[in-house]
């Protein structure tokens, strides 16, 4: 069997994503994603330049949002949560992640026999 070697990329090497790309990755609708933007779960990148007069530039998102929208999809589907419930769950998960990161850093600094 032919074995190919695939080069792996860092998620953030993907470059900014469009709303359409987030729709594709998450299989959430554009309206659902806009609601997540309104709830502050997704934050568009600051617009690079002003679009033509009166036209809102298409929002762009950091590539890490690909991971977030996939988590939104899982939480929404597996726990039957609405957008607000998802936003609360994600905020709590983010806090846990931060605490775990701090705990890991402290463990790394403790002598091996104590960690």
């Amino acid at each position: 069997m032919k074995i190919e070697v695939t080069e792996i990329r860092w998620v953030d090497q993907h470059g900014p994503c469009s709303l359409h790309e987030l729709v594709e990755a998450s299989q959430l609708s554009a309206d659902e994603l806009r609601e997540l933007v309104e709830l502050g779960v997704l934050r568009p990148l600051p617009a690079a330049g002003s679009g033509s007069a009166g036209v809102e530039p298409e929002p762009r998102f950091a590539a890490e949002c690909l991971v977030t929208v996939r988590a939104v999809r899982r939480l929404r589907e597996d726990f039957d949560l609405d957008a607000h419930g998802v936003s609360v769950a994600l905020a709590l998960m983010e806090r846990i992640k931060t605490l775990e990161r701090q705990l890991r850093a402290l463990h790394a600094q403790l002598p091996d026999s104590m960690s």
Partner: protein
């Protein structure tokens, strides 16, 4: 095809009402969902629970499942002859090429397929390209016409050693992803491939393998594979992001007088100067000796000083420590209140 007992997976009776099944699913999802559970086996357990729920929550699918009869877990079985026609399996694969009619309406050919694929197919047939449970709607045809459909994204985990994170590594991945073959049949085919993890991966990091998820259809692009990296514990170094920590045992006289000692790093041993008067717990930094950072540079290596006292002293050593004790005015507890009372 192997039988999976969905009722047993949710811990409910076969005649349990829908509300009870939902309650059982929610309790188990809360317990095992990989986003909220720390159970090392949670992902596998949740998959079983979610698969059972996806079928039993839907009255039509539940009826179809019940018609398969009750078999032992893992037991090989064949659905009743008219089962596919009755429940519409295969319509999602379009144009008579799906599973239900794959061999001319006679028997089934279920090798390489598991029960979850069968029911996912059933919902694709009904939804006619409208999307099933997670990542559904990836069938090659259906009533939606030949519009491009992006393949499904998948997630997998890879454990790598610290050496692999430092040097980069080629890991073997062997994923069985359900996909449609050229004749429109859904099969679960092992796709072994090698993936090169760039150097500088850290614990908990996500990497993306473009195009390594499920196959796209009608010109839709293939899905992606997201790889969660976990670092295996190393006997000497502990990682925090790109920084590494190493316990550095030193003798009391090395800590007091200073010394030059050899310490291991990921790229070989280096000499480290311990300044005189170094106390236990002090972190000595070796700049750039941590894990390489893909954004440039590298993390640092911190050697954490541990003053280690010999547990067995020979006569000469004992004499010298006693002489030091008599001569030294050093009081390590000078900050304690006199008289032993802290109040």
């Amino acid at each position: 095809m192997k039988y999976t007992d969905y009722y047993a997976a949710l811990g409910v009776a076969r005649d349990a009402p829908e509300a009870e099944i939902k309650k059982a699913y929610r309790r188990l999802a809360r317990q095992y969902h990989p986003d909220v559970s720390k159970d090392p086996d949670g992902e596998r357990k949740f998959k079983e629970v979610a698969e059972a729920w996806a079928t039993l929550r839907d009255p039509e699918k539940r009826a179809a499942y019940d018609q398969l009869g009750q078999h032992g877990p893992g037991e090989e079985f064949q659905p009743p002859p008219d089962w596919a026609r009755r429940y519409g399996a295969g319509t999602g694969a379009g144009a008579g090429a799906g599973m239900g009619s794959a061999d001319g309406g006679g028997g089934f050919s279920f090798e390489d397929l598991d029960l979850s694929d069968l029911f996912a197919e059933l919902s694709r047939g009904r939804a006619a390209g409208g999307g099933g449970h997670r990542g559904g709607g990836a069938g090659p045809g259906g009533a939606g016409g030949p519009r491009p459909m992006r393949g499904e994204d998948y997630e997998a985990s890879a454990q790598i050693s610290l050496e692999d994170a430092f040097n980069g590594a080629v890991v073997d991945l062997d994923l069985a992803i359900p996909e449609y073959d050229d004749s429109g049949r859904l099969t679960r085919r092992a796709r072994p491939f090698k993936a090169r993890i760039p150097k500088g991966a850290t614990d908990g990091q996500r990497l993306r393998l473009p195009g390594k998820g499920g196959r796209g259809f009608n010109g839709g692009r293939d899905g992606d594979l997201y790889l969660n990296i976990a670092l295996r514990p190393h006997p000497l170094f502990r990682a925090d992001g790109h920084d590494l920590y190493l316990d550095l045992p030193v003798a009391p006289w090395e800590a007091a007088l200073g010394a030059s000692v050899e310490v291991p790093t990921m790229s070989g041993a280096v000499r480290l100067k311990i300044p005189s008067g170094t106390h236990a717990g002090k972190q000595l930094r070796l700049a750039g000796r941590g894990l390489p950072n893909p954004r440039g540079g590298a993390g640092d290596l911190y050697a954490i000083v541990h003053v280690v006292v010999p547990t067995v002293l020979d006569e000469r050593e004992k004499e010298l420590f006693e002489a030091l004790s008599a001569a030294s005015k050093f009081d390590p507890r000078s900050h304690f209140p006199r008289g032993g009372s802290a109040s």
